[in-house]
Symmetry: C2
């Protein structure tokens, strides 16, 4: 186990009607003028936006809004948010939505203090030195962004999607009411489930080897998603399923699974390259890529780990032919994603063969990616071909 | 799943040589005069105390000491610590040791601000309103006190051992170096392992029923202790074993397993009653009591949960006779504790039959205890008899 520092300062308010703490909590963080960030109309139609603005009004907290933030959030939304903050002396950022909204809000919070373009954070031209306090009202079980310091932003002009990671943008608090996820459409419930599972896999397949406790915790989250993903699809208003899934998403990427290890993250890097050019739903891309990635990296050195996954998570009977057991687990994962009605191939989501080289070039332009198994441009291209 | 608020503000520095951050971190929390709390000579002999005082000296941080804090820490140590703090204008508390030292330090940190006796906190005569910042340097895998707001103190005169729980006394940071646990004697390594497992059981056996994710996480911690407890006993300097056990102890009681549920805690209440009159090592008492408690509470309504424990954690083959499978798991748990060379019966640790009524009276004086299954005085007495 590597040395590590673990800090999880986000306070979580989980359950029905927890939104009631919003005003008091914002005031605890000295918020007087809030930028509410959101995306689609779902939170308007559900009445959540009205609930929030009423709560702010009752607590004498002023607010302005940034709406229309898209999935794969754009750097231009960040720029617009920063402008609104500066014009209105905003001192607190509230993200209402899923990971895209939260990531956009985080980058705005940091960008306000940067005398330059916020894309600089993603190209290592600038470091985050300060950020406005951030809170989130989560409406989708997926990214874990509600309890970590990550933000992923797409730059359409630069044809790139990149990640920022700094403790400065960890939310001060997050409100997680499983009922807010009742209205998530099937497609996004499925994609969110795949996203959670991919986060776990990226940390499950890692180095060094003496990470038994992390491995057990990772399997705990995987079993939860496998049990409740299908239930949430069939019964969108099943509280138990939505609650277990929602917090599985948080725990999958709040450092609980990553302490003391080097995650792999190659699948994420490849998926980011795909969605930079195609605006694919992140979780769908991950679900398509993960089984081909597993088949490609599987070898005699790591068969034990993939075999454990098969036995412990996918209930494949243990036995002597570990390579075969590992393959059966990968097949079962692919069947699971298919059962969630997620497309199985890149060609089904509009990716053409002649785009694969461009994707591989964005993903692995020169260095290798991944740590469980290092992959270069040619490896990535091979994986993309089998995923097509 | 119940609504919950989750806050884990303690920053963890885990691994070899992490003690190097001590001075800087204390200064981050404005510490200028530190009370170092410790117990036995082990930290003197190992050189750890010298390392710490040198680091404080190098960082121009003054310090005074409270030594001789005992296992089952006494309220009189707390009183003495408060006196030292007041006389020396102490502004930061550093606990160096295991749970007993940390619990004593926490109570001192709160007691400094209380105009009265610190035992008042444990009898609901006073509430904690403020506390000095606390940090810990952990030397024993057991209580989880390094990342929570709990403190358990013994009052010898009142023949009682009681718990305090408040966010005010959650450590600001904790340093966990597995190498500091290399010198923990076999008996205390075993007792610590049992303590960790008992914390998990108290949360595993809980209500309501829709706590799948918490149950998976609890099983993850149990599997870790079952794998590494015996290794740490046989190879005290096995870093992998010590590291996995050490963080298992932290995660077993830092709210990661308790969110959204009502833990049982009856075994802890009974053990506290025993150690109030006998000074028994906490983990040993828990190991003795847990199997008899399980056998006593097992019934048709909860057989599923105990059966799951057998199958998922103790590798008992699943089958139709759930009651039998549940009993086999309890037997296997008892064998596991025996393999750690922990005494199996209260009579082996000096408890006499004529003390059982007194213990039951302290544990369940009027109300029932436990939530998974409520127990009254007579129930407790029955469990004690079978544990004798």
């Amino acid at each position: 186990m590597h040395n590590f520092t673990l800090s999880m300062p986000t306070k979580i308010f989980f359950g029905k009607s927890q939104i009631d703490v919003l005003g008091e909590q914002i005031k605890n963080h000295s918020g007087t003028k809030v930028l509410i960030c959101y995306g689609s109309n779902r939170i308007k139609e559900s009445g959540l936006l009205d609930t929030i603005t009423n709560l702010l009004y009752e607590n004498n907290i002023a607010y302005c809004e940034l709406s229309g933030i898209q999935p794969n959030p754009r750097i231009r939304s960040v720029r617009k948010g920063i402008e609104i903050c500066r014009e209105n002396d905003v001192d607190f950022i509230l993200a209402v939505g899923g990971g895209s909204i939260i990531d956009c809000a985080k980058t705005i919070a940091a960008g306000v203090f940067h005398d330059g373009d916020p894309w600089d954070f993603f190209t290592d031209k600038a470091k985050v030195t300060d950020a406005l306090p951030i809170a989130t009202v989560l409406t989708l079980a997926a990214t874990g962004s509600e309890m970590n310091g990550n933000a992923v932003i797409t730059n359409v002009e630069a044809v790139n999607k990149k990640a920022l990671r700094t403790s400065m943008i960890i939310p001060a608090f997050s409100i997680l009411d499983p009922e807010y996820t009742y209205t998530v459409p099937k497609y996004h419930t499925a994609a969110g489930t795949a996203d959670i599972m991919s986060h776990v896999f990226e940390q499950y397949f890692s180095t060094p080897e003496d990470i038994f406790i992390q491995t057990q915790l990772a399997e705990a989250i995987l079993k939860t998603t496998i049990k409740y993903g299908p239930v949430a699809l069939k019964e969108p208003e099943n509280y138990e399923a939505r609650a277990n899934l929602l917090f599985a998403g948080t725990l999958a990427l709040n450092d609980l699974l990553s302490f003391g290890l080097d995650g792999d993250w190659a699948v994420h890097v490849i998926e980011h390259a795909i969605s930079a050019i195609s605006d694919l739903t992140h979780g769908v891309g991950l679900a398509i890529l993960t089984p081909p990635w597993m088949r490609y990296v599987l070898d005699e050195n790591n068969v034990e780990k993939l075999c454990n996954l098969s036995v412990n998570v996918f209930e494949i009977p243990s036995g002597n032919n570990k390579m075969e057991i590992a393959r059966q687990g990968i097949d079962k994962l692919q069947s699971f994603f298919a059962s969630l009605e997620i497309p199985a191939r890149l060609s089904e989501v509009g990716i053409k063969e002649d785009q694969l080289e461009q994707i591989a070039k964005i993903a692995a332009p020169s260095d290798t990616i991944g740590s469980f198994k290092e992959l270069n441009y040619n490896d990535v291209l091979e994986i993309l071909k089998t995923a097509l």
